[in-house]
């Protein structure tokens, strides 16, 4: 068994018949990083909701526990 092409040799840049997804432009990738960074703020909302749930549980305990 051997490789069709020796290891380390460079083949065609885009093999025939291969559908290669479009690579975003550099600016699009910069925007994507910024978008991902800003999207992280959803974690704050998640933490606030979690805190609220604990608050409800403690209230229930204080009232009826």
């Amino acid at each position: 068994m051997s490789n069709p092409q020796p290891v380390g040799e460079t083949g065609p840049v885009v093999p025939a018949g291969l559908v290669v997804p479009a690579l975003p432009s550099e600016q699009e990738m910069v925007d994507e990083i910024d978008r991902d960074r800003r999207h992280e703020r959803y974690l704050v909302r998640a933490a606030l909701v979690a805190t609220l749930v604990i608050g409800v549980a403690l209230t229930v305990r204080a009232r009826w526990g």
Binding site: M1, N3, P4, Q5, V7, G8, E9, T10, G11, P12, V13, V14, P15, L18, V19, V20, P21, A22, L23, P24, E26, M29, V30, E32, I33, D34, D36, R37, R38, E40, R41, Y42, L43, V44, R45, A46, A47, V49, A50, T51, V53, I54, A57, V60, R61, G65
Partner: protein
């Protein structure tokens, strides 16, 4: 006698406090997660597309490796900057045929490397491939993955963007459970991965130190791989953790990228999960011993040796022991006739209940897709019995009046003592119950009973029981074999 009682009381109380530490540390980790929007690596990330060599270790992976290769060559990445090296570890199935067919289909991009004498484990297989690609100047970064994982199209370039910062040595992705039709156990695993990766590893990003690069998705810069010896550790069962620690000890950062998503196939039965996690657990014990001079010594390494990271590391590693200590402490206080027993029990489980509510509510929001798919497993993660015990922290009469009352019963004094002792012992008994669940799975009625028991006993206790087993196996010096997890190609392609 009074002095002895006092000493016994303090010792028991100390045990209970030690038992509560992992719970508090779990909550602490989750409180770090909402800081991630401000303490992350995105400001130093930039579009960067180095020449990446992908190393895929494969032993009898014919069912899955073809799809993985197909997805790799279709990544949103410049085709002339990506090469795939499948290291065939003397497979006896059709793996060589599948890989060679792909090598012919994608010439110059996919390569088949064959080890004629295999079976030494994943690390040896990886080293065979790494030695080949480091011989060439072409490689600027190395992606180490598993044969069964499927990379989302944008995942690799979302990882490489962090390597634009030369202080970063390695980047890891989020490994998501990827079955098209998950069974109960894979839904538990899916939820666990959200908690253990997208939450816990974000917290570690905040601390600036990572415990482990996921074995199925670790991207190293060439400089980093060469700095850690140009090879993967072969002396432990946790080679990915060793690489992570060595990278950071060498002064480079390790980053978790939550938006680089990789789908993986996970075990569908408890036996296979036990085998996989036992390997991970034993690996962690070995890593702890190997870096024994590092923990809680910030002067050795500011972050790896830091107090926060040490607490996180040992809270996971020693969780089963702390659970047993907690039970011993509570029962001890009860037998000593101390009034502290009930207070300590309520305080422990009250903390556990608050932590559970916070962690569960956050986790299902962090990854809403898994949250929707696995909400039952999220709720039942600690087990329905543990949930009832937690509920006693909020409603102390639950086990003594309410539940017996439902059946028209009233507990006698002896009955109350028995229930009390059972509640105090549950933190230890739950691991025994989890082990029994594994045993039940092998029986004739296992397919029906085991899932039910898993929800009742809990997935968390199962993981603790496996960790406990890993101590025993390490202590006994059991043979260090690489028990591969069987993969059949269930991941959504």
């Amino acid at each position: 006698m009074n002095a002895l009682t006092a000493i016994g009381t303090w010792v028991c109380l100390a045990f209970v406090i030690v038992g509560a530490i992992p719970v508090a540390v779990g909550l602490y980790q989750y409180l770090l997660v909402p800081i991630h929007p401000w303490r992350n690596h995105y400001r130093k990330a930039a579009p960067y597309l180095p020449r990446v060599s992908v190393v895929v270790p494969a032993w009898n992976e014919g069912a899955v490796v073809g799809t993985s290769i197909d997805r790799l060559v279709r990544l949103e990445y410049p085709p002339d900057r990506l090469r795939v090296y499948v290291v065939d570890d003397a497979s006896t199935d059709n793996t060589p045929d599948v890989v060679l067919e792909r090598a012919a289909r994608y010439p110059g991009r996919v390569f088949h490397l064959r080890r004629e004498n295999g079976g030494q484990g994943k690390a040896h297989t990886l080293n065979h491939g790494i030695s080949v690609l480091l011989e060439q100047d072409w490689t600027e970064a190395v992606l180490i993955m598993d044969a069964d994982v499927i990379y989302r199209p944008d995942s690799l370039r979302k990882m490489t963007r962090h390597l634009a910062d030369p202080t970063v040595g390695a980047v890891t992705a989020y490994i998501s459970e990827g079955s098209a039709r998950p069974r109960y156990l894979t839904r538990f695993i899916g939820y666990e991965y959200v908690a253990a990766q997208t939450a816990a590893r974000r917290a570690q990003n905040v601390l600036g130190v990572l415990a482990c690069l996921a074995g199925g998705a670790q991207l190293h810069s060439r400089e980093n791989l060469e700095a850690i010896g140009g090879r993967i550790d072969t002396t432990t069962l946790a080679e990915d953790t060793v690489s992570t620690i060595l990278t950071q000890l060498n002064g480079r950062r390790v980053i978790f990228e939550p938006y680089a998503v990789v789908l993986a196939e996970e075990p569908e039965d408890i036996g296979a999960l036990w085998k996989q996690r036992l390997r991970w657990g034993r690996g962690n014990v070995q890593v702890t011993k190997r870096f024994a001079g590092l923990w809680f010594r910030p002067w050795k390494h500011r972050r790896l040796g830091g107090f926060s990271f040490g607490l996180i590391w040992f809270s996971v590693l020693l969780l089963p022991i702390t659970m047993v200590l907690s039970s011993i402490g509570l029962i001890g206080l009860f037998l000593l006739g101390s009034d502290l027993a009930a207070d300590a029990f309520r305080a422990t489980w009250f903390l556990a209940a608050c932590t559970y509510l916070f962690i569960t509510t956050m986790t299902v929001q962090i990854e809403p897709r898994t949250g929707r798919r696995s909400w039952r497993e999220a709720v039942a993660f600690p087990g329905l019995i543990s949930l009832l015990v937690m509920a006693t922290a909020f409603a102390p009469d639950l086990f003594f009046r309410t539940i017996p009352g439902l059946f028209g019963l009233e507990l006698t004094a002896i009955g109350e003592d028995c229930v009390t002792l059972a509640l105090y012992a549950w933190l230890s008994l739950c691991m025994v119950a989890a082990w029994l669940t594994k045993r039940v799975e092998k029986t004739r009625f296992g397919k029906v009973l085991a899932p039910t028991l898993m929800y009742v006993v809990g997935y968390g206790p199962l993981l603790c029981a496996i960790t406990f087993d890993s101590y025993i196996k390490e202590f006994r010096g059991a043979a260090q074999v690489w028990d591969k997890t069987e993969k059949v190609g269930r991941v959504m392609a």
